[in-house]
């Protein structure tokens, strides 16, 4: 309880969490894909459509349907290779993660097909979502395409890292 209150005080809204998460995700993507990727960019993309960022980064040729990407992800990772660019979506919430948050992210992920997506909050999963994913073990709903999944994570502000004990990776 003490810890929860403290973390709530650390961030007043979702936007305040973005800088910490951008640093963390960039570090993670560089660790996982840095050896093969040409360039890795993690951006705050909450205030404009994804299609606009694709234009800005000159990635149009890698996304034939990019004009239809009228979606706003809080944070997006762009992993650039010689012949392709892969996306990672992050949806951030200030309160507990709810089923509706997951549903929205599944929808957006089905449109632009990131290699994986992250639903994340300092408070972690709410009881309904936790019951569905852990007690009833319905992790199948996290897979929006074969091999492409949504990770449901709890952010630990003190560690500036994931609380892996309370996350589904």
């Amino acid at each position: 309880m003490f810890k929860l209150l403290y973390e709530e005080l650390m961030y007043n809204n979702e936007i305040e969490i973005y800088p910490d998460l951008i640093v963390w995700l960039e570090n993670r993507l560089k660790g996982d894909f840095g050896r093969k990727a040409k360039n890795i960019n993690v951006l705050d993309t909450h205030d404009s459509d994804l299609s606009n960022f694709i234009i800005k980064l000159k990635y149009q040729r890698f996304f034939p349907d990019f004009t239809t990407y009228k979606i706003r992800q809080d944070i997006t990772g762009f992993i650039e290779y010689e012949d392709k660019v892969e996306l990672v979506f992050v949806e951030v919430k200030i309160g507990q993660l709810k089923l509706i948050d997951l549903s929205q992210l599944i929808g957006y992920s089905c449109i632009a097909l990131p290699i994986f997506s992250i639903l994340i909050a300092p408070e972690g999963m709410g009881s309904t979502l936790a019951k569905l994913l852990t007690s009833f073990n319905r992790k199948d709903i996290l897979e929006f395409r074969p091999g492409r999944k949504i990770q449901v994570l709890k952010w630990d502000a003190k560690k500036q890292d994931i609380d892996f004990m309370n996350s589904i990776v």
């Binding site: 810890k3 660790g31 003190k158 890292d161 309370n166």
Partner: protein
């Protein structure tokens, strides 16, 4: 095309498990039994830190439920074994399956307990996330943030306590912590020159665990999964943040201590490893150097 490396197969879950095994794990292995036992020891029921007064046993038991679920999700058969002064996780295998062989390979096939385990080499080649999870695994079984751990200036410290029999781990753990930018304030080796410099205590009282001393605010980026340890850490780190501004640098391998210590008769003790047996040390970094410090060798 890049070759497959073992470090590419490490996950945060495996890294955390390896950390716990390295810190307090023991392997029981024969034709009938294949077990790994990880001990979570505690000396007293209650633990205090700043304003906190916590029931240690209760916190360990509750926190371990999450650890058990995490291990079960990896397909490992695990049970909690509670005794008077220790709680253990017992990981059991009926057959030598791939998980058993992989873990055994990683923690060095011929070694059987935390008294002689080493940090698996793939951990050093792995991602920062995996390195941190490995250290969390070690910390959950060997780390303590106690009020009594404070330095003379009052700055609170977390101790990682490595069994005194194991002289492999200290330089390896130091290298790992440095690679994730966690500065170590001091390593108090279980050596007569450091623990009983004036030969006043006698009775081999110096032969106690090696203590890694890390300022609490620096250890916060690692933290603990055991709730009472994490709460104590955060409490003491907050006190440090209110009282101290300057952070300490990472070790650059140089020794700046000039004080000369007296010769101790136990410098030749038969339990000291060959690398340091018969040698005299005035500073802990001189021991690090003999133990193959990565910065010097």
């Amino acid at each position: 095309m890049e070759k497959n490396k073992i470090s590419n197969f490490l996950t945060p879950d495996i890294s955390y498990l390896l950390g716990m095994i390295t810190g307090r794990g023991q392997i029981q292995y024969n034709q009938d039994v294949k077990k790994i036992i990880i001990d979570f020891e505690y000396k007293s029921q209650r633990v205090t830190a700043g304003k906190l007064d916590l029931d240690q046993k209760l916190h360990i038991q509750t926190s371990l439920d999450k650890v058990i679920i995490r291990l079960q999700n990896m397909g490992i058969n695990v049970v909690k074994d509670v005794s008077e002064n220790s709680i253990s996780l017992v990981l059991k295998w009926i057959t030598e399956d791939i998980a058993w062989l992989f873990i055994k390979f990683l923690i060095n096939g011929t070694k059987f307990s935390y008294h002689d385990f080493e940090i698996p080499e793939p951990i050093f080649e792995s991602t920062e996330i995996n390195k941190k999870e490995f250290v969390r695994g070690i910390g959950d079984v060997t780390g303590y943030s106690r009020t009594s751990n404070a330095f003379i200036d009052g700055r609170h410290r977390t101790y990682i306590e490595i069994t005194q029999k194991n002289w492999n781990i200290p330089p390896q753990l130091c290298r790992l912590l440095q690679s994730i930018q966690v500065p170590i304030q001091n390593i108090n080796y279980g050596h007569p020159n450091l623990r009983d410099p004036n030969n006043k205590k006698g009775n081999r009282s110096w032969a106690r665990e090696h203590q890694f001393k890390i300022n609490c605010e620096d250890y916060q980026k690692i933290g603990f999964y055991l709730s009472h340890k994490d709460q104590a850490l955060n409490e003491l780190a907050d006190i440090n943040k209110s009282n101290f501004d300057a952070s300490i640098p990472l070790c650059d391998g140089t020794t700046n201590r000039n004080k000369i210590k007296a010769i101790h008769p136990d410098e030749n003790d038969s339990d000291l490893p060959a690398e340091i047996k018969g040698k005299h040390f005035d500073a802990y970094k001189e021991i690090c150097n003999c133990l193959n410090c990565y910065m010097k060798n």
